[in-house]
Symmetry: C2
Subunit: 227 residues, 2 copies
């Protein structure tokens, strides 16, 4: 297929941008929330780093294992299709006809297609996976590399909102510096992220900042209320 | 299509289980990390709740907006396909032939298919979206409902690891109770989550617990080192 026509950006850059903009959001909001409730920057920093560690492992390892699960799932389904093609070929041929019937293909052509497809059982099964079940063959290497890149970028992104607390003396000052830096970075990464997926980048930038600011504001208010 | 044959579980239950098992992981790890670094349960609880608030907003709102973006992206691509079908119909017909050629369909049948498909431009465009680009029409209502359900379940899941710190007096005791409760819940939700997606549930349960424990262990060690 030639999806390249519609997507030209590098997968690595995409992973980095996704991981960084996610990494900016939750650690920023957590630090903002704590800064309204505790007296010292060191607690905010410790909590922030603990979150970055936990989040990057959950995201990276979670993504890696989800990729493996997707491969398992594909294997299970393809095994089932292989069985069905052997055991109930007429049912499977009818399924081929149904796929094409919904696109207005004539019954005569549907029959010919079902017949030709059934000549090569491997290709028939591949066809059913993609066109009946809408499942693409997952690329397990790509999935693990992607999970690693996103997890690592989450760490880098997550350090940005914490810098404000490193270079100031009180949580209040820290929150100010952290907010300015994080909003700037969220704008940039939101813009790049949306641009890479082929949508309106300004809208994406505003959206990404909006999520971050809303999460931080809510965390701040609730942490103040309960502390 | 009849994907129902392969997936029978309710979407709502799936969202709840995903949100809960994610909600259990990061707040658990954050609280565990902090419990090795601070002297009072109240800081652990404040940080945990701030994380749950931030995480659920990032996840729920992020998921909702991602769903909207997916719809925008589909609209952009379908507009492009409509243009191509009008402007360069012969190129698009060749693309139809290419799709079927890879499944071993004879050139004669490829030509007939391209010809029949080109009779109804709406169906032709739908066909190209699904079979050339592999894009399904996104269901925007489903996406927002799902984002809300996952975000809300994240909150419920995130409260479980914090209970341990509510009912004990020191972070050390809190960590013990929190770990026992969270591991139990992660086992259950990991099992259910994997079962719902049609894979080996015991493996899924172990995997989910493994991610949670690794994230918590790493957060604990690093928080101790820096505090």
């Amino acid at each position: 297929m030639h999806e390249e026509k519609h997507f030209t950006s590098s997968d690595l850059i995409k992973d980095i941008v996704i991981g960084m903009s996610d990494g900016l959001t939750v650690p920023f909001a957590l630090a903002a929330g704590l800064s309204g409730a505790v007296a010292s920057n060191s607690i905010v920093i410790t909590a922030g780093i603990a979150e970055v560690v936990a989040g990057s492992i959950a995201m990276g390892l979670g993504g890696y294992l989800a990729g493996r699960t997707e491969v398992d799932h594909y294997q299970t389904e393809i095994a089932r299709e292989r069985l069905e093609v052997e055991a109930v070929p007429e049912v499977e041929k009818q399924e081929v006809r149904d796929v094409f019937s919904s696109y207005g293909i004539s019954p005569g052509l549907q029959d010919q297609l079902a017949l030709e497809l059934s000549q090569d059982k491997n290709k028939w099964v591949d066809f059913m996976m993609r066109f009946e079940l809408g499942m693409e063959k997952p690329d397990v290497r790509r999935a693990s590399r992607s999970a690693f890149n996103i997890g690592a970028s989450y760490i880098v992104g997550g350090m940005v909102p914490l810098i404000g607390y490193f270079i100031t003396n009180t949580p209040k000052q820290g929150l100010l510096v952290s907010s300015i830096m994080t909003v700037m970075f969220l704008l940039i990464f939101g813009y790049v992220k949306t641009r890479l997926t082929g949508n309106r980048p300004f809208y994406g930038a505003v959206k990404t900042v909006f999520i971050g600011v809303l999460a931080a504001g809510a965390a701040y208010l609730i942490a103040r209320l309960i502390s």
